[in-house]
């Protein structure tokens, strides 16, 4: 990792820490949520932005993490830490299975296969309503959200827990893409055949990328359930597969800071426009169209192209 990249990561994470003390309670709450959702986008970005695989089924991984944490807490009385580990294991297992099957396809077929698996997962969460309470979902009681006496529903704790999860995911990916493994993923994105003929096991690399991406997304789902106290089938619906794609594209696919920027941008776009007009999705839709027309690489992508070429 070069010095300036390290500095960038340090400054970015530093800003997120400072932010807590500068902005109002409302925005603290928002940023806690943005950071957790940005973890989801970071996970998605690894697969889409760095490996070039467009999945339309990541809600499956997010929801697996969410239920992987929430169901053991709810029905088996797990403590938070084992529940979080269970979420990671579940997400890793599900993403391995999906990766193993879906990677037999590529391109549009890959999109559909992942979409179908996610749809099956969504329906399953409804079908298993006895445990999941289906679309209605269930609350993770505050009493189950305490680790070593620390109450994770407290705004300050929540903020820094979200920060910690985000920083971990962010640095993991920032480190990964500097490793030979990560560089090979980029090579696969750019030209899969060439990467294979340089001697890389393309299928293996893609499979690991799917598993890592799915597990990070699952961690985001688990963190969301734990920090905001709710798990429900809505998060497994197709809409939540599209969202990380949108966030990553808006922020800049294949940039480390893009997912956070895109998530925050989309969040505040909805928040501000719903203050201005009841037709806030109209504003969102127009903004998306305009961004694709005039900033096709996403916000961070355009910055990299026009101003700072070294942006990781």
């Amino acid at each position: 990792m070069t010095v300036r990249e390290g500095l960038l990561h340090f400054v970015l994470l530093g800003i997120l820490v400072l932010l807590f003390f500068v902005v109002s309670d409302y925005h603290d709450g928002n940023w806690a949520r943005i950071m957790v959702l940005a973890v989801y986008a970071v996970g998605y970005n690894l697969l889409f932005g760095y490996t070039g695989l467009l999945s339309l089924g990541h809600a499956l991984f997010f929801a697996t993490g969410m239920y992987g944490l929430a169901l053991p807490i709810q029905h088996l009385g797990f403590a938070p830490v084992p529940a979080f580990l269970s979420a990671l294991v579940c997400a890793a297992v599900v993403s391995s299975a999906v990766g193993f099957l879906a990677l037999r396809t590529s391109g549009v077929a890959f999109m559909i296969v992942t979409l179908m698996f996610a749809q099956a997962g969504f329906l399953l969460s409804l079908y298993a309503g006895r445990y999941t309470r289906g679309d209605e979902g269930f609350v993770i009681p505050q009493s189950a959200r305490i680790i070593a006496g620390i109450d994770f529903s407290d705004p300050t704790i929540r903020y820094f827990a979200a920060f910690f999860v985000f920083a971990a995911a962010y640095l993991l990916i920032a480190w990964l893409i500097r490793t030979p493994f990560g560089k090979c993923l980029v090579a696969i994105r750019e030209n899969e055949d060439r990467a294979r003929m340089l001697g890389y096991d393309v299928h293996f690399h893609k499979l690991v990328a799917v598993i890592l991406s799915g597990t990070v997304s699952g961690a985001a789902g688990a963190a969301y359930a734990f920090l905001f106290g709710y798990a429900g089938a809505t998060f497994a619906s197709v809409q939540y597969s599209i969202l990380p794609l949108l966030w990553v594209l808006l922020g800049g696919a294949g940039t480390t800071i893009g997912p956070l920027i895109g998530t925050a941008f989309a969040f505040y776009l909805i928040d501000f426009s719903s203050d201005l007009t009841t037709a806030h999705l109209l504003v969102v839709g127009l903004a998306i169209v305009l961004l694709t027309l005039f900033a096709p690489l996403g916000l961070a992508g355009e910055v990299r192209k026009r101003i700072v070429g070294w942006l990781p």
């Binding site: 500068v22 902005v23 109002s24 309670d25 409302y26 709450g29 928002n30 949520r33 329906l123 409804l126 079908y127 309503g129 006895r130 309470r133 289906g134 679309d135 209605e136 979902g137 269930f138 609350v139 993770i140 009681p141 505050q142 109450d151 529903s153 407290d154 705004p155 300050t156 905001f228 106290g229 709710y230 429900g232 089938a233 809505t234 998060f235 909805i270 928040d271 719903s274 009841t278 806030h280 999705l281």
Partner: protein, 434 residues
């Protein structure tokens, strides 16, 4: 400007919050702190701000529009009569997209950004359940109008109350005696395959068995389904009563296809009006409903014995004798549910007046005041009927109406007593600390 002041006061507010979480004593102390009192006095001329979580977009939008109209009408009436504790009431409406994630964000916005006194108005269960934890953590009273059993089941928290509309469990259980006595013993149920439908399935099946009947088929329809005929052959031929409840934009298709399936030769049909909420009962293809029965939260058509309260309420909201908008007869209201907004707002008003509510520091007093309520008489404030509030479970109980379709209108056939809707308490929220 507000940004700056907020930054400035932030540290003290944080400390106050920590104190609050420290225990009930700290709360009492904070209200006597001089700074806080001054803040309250300065605010007393300000309007009372009610955050209205509205389904303006998404799957709940048809309900949201009428919840909005009812809310606006109730607030206008309130302000015309001098507001609450001499202060005007202001509605801060924010769309939740009928989505639990956005719903939680909206509650946060009410509590921390818009400085609302209370949050109010949510209908769809998943939005309620997704938002309620945040309301509890931010300690903002959250008055829902959802008819879900989630409040009384005990999964939510002390800050979440449902004082304006009965829950699905009591509705369903109150229907069972009528169905088994008047319509038939062998019942086939059709319901949507998610939590709301599962509540119908579980509570009605049990209640019917208690009343000597039997559910002989449970047919769950997948959500987002748009064509239904293929599921109807699963209705057993010996069915005496068909019990249907459906929600979502495809309800009219559902009912129409039900008619096409049976032709003129159908069993007794008993439905929840949810299956036809916001839909004209005289739509082409629904003729077969003549002579069938519906549960109604509040009778859509003006009845012979209409109370003055219903008359006043109808006029105030702008609904005609057939339950449609006075300005557009094709625009059918969600009459069976939306009264809940009107009545909930009046409960909030009554609670604030009883507790001499001055500002957010009195939120727990407001909740205690509402918890203390029991009998709620029929009145202009409560035009749907008398109710009994259970402070322990935070859930209100009330009369249920069963109407029969006669000449294309729904005519009241039976009114259950409030006691019919009772079931044993499943929780006691008053034991939870604030």
């Amino acid at each position: 400007m507000s940004q700056f002041t907020k930054n400035y006061v932030l540290p003290t507010r944080r400390n106050a919050l920590k104190l609050l979480s420290g225990g009930g004593l700290a709360l009492a102390a904070s209200s006597t702190m001089p700074g806080v009192t001054r803040f309250a006095q300065a605010q007393s001329s300000e309007p009372i701000r009610i955050g209205f979580q509205i389904h303006r977009t998404g799957i709940g939008a048809a309900y949201g529009r009428w919840y909005d109209r009812t809310t606006q009408a109730a607030v206008k009436r309130m302000n015309d009569a001098g507001g609450i504790n001499g202060r005007m009431v202001e509605i801060i409406a924010e769309d939740d997209g009928t989505d639990p994630k956005r719903g939680a964000e909206v509650v946060e916005k009410f509590a921390t950004q818009q400085q609302c006194d209370v949050a109010f108005g949510t209908l769809f269960s998943h939005v309620v359940i997704g938002s309620a934890p945040r309301a509890g953590e931010l300690k903002i009273p959250y008055f829902v109008v959802s008819e879900g059993h989630h409040v009384a089941s005990g999964i939510l928290n002390r800050y979440t109350l449902q004082p304006g509309i009965t829950d699905v469990k009591s509705q369903v259980e109150a229907m069972a005696p009528f169905v088994s006595t008047n319509l038939g013993k062998k019942v086939a149920m059709i319901y949507p395959d998610f939590a709301f439908g599962h509540d119908h399935r579980d509570y009605f099946t049990a209640a019917l068995a208690k009343n000597g009947g039997e559910v002989i088929a449970q047919i769950a329809i997948p959500p987002t389904e748009t064509s239904f005929t293929k599921y109807f052959p699963k209705i057993p031929q010996q069915t005496e009563v068909l019990y249907h409840v459906m929600v979502g934009p495809a309800v009219l298709t559902f009912v129409k296809e039900l008619g096409e399936f049976f032709g003129s030769n159908h069993p007794e049909i008993f439905g929840f009006i949810d299956s036809l909420e916001a839909v004209d009962i005289q739509s082409p293809g629904l003729e077969f409903l003549e002579g069938t029965y519906f549960w109604e939260g509040n009778p859509r058509y003006v009845q012979n014995n209409q109370t003055s309260h219903d008359k006043m309420y109808r006029t105030a909201v702008g609904v005609d004798e057939s339950g449609a908008s006075v300005s557009d007869s094709r625009d059918i209201s969600t009459y069976a549910h939306m009264f809940g907004c009107w009545e909930t707002l009046n409960i909030i008003k009554a609670g604030m007046e009883m507790s001499d509510y001055q500002g957010p520091q009195h939120r727990s007093r407001l909740i205690e005041a509402v918890e203390d309520m029991t009998d709620i008489p029929l009145s202009d404030d409560h035009p749907q009927g008398a109710k009994i509030f259970n402070g322990k479970t935070h859930q209100v109980f009330g009369h249920q109406y069963i109407s029969k379709v006669e000449n294309g209108r729904m005519v009241l056939a039976h009114t259950t007593s409030i006691e019919d809707t009772f079931y044993p308490d499943e929780t006691d929220y008053t034991t939870q600390p604030f």
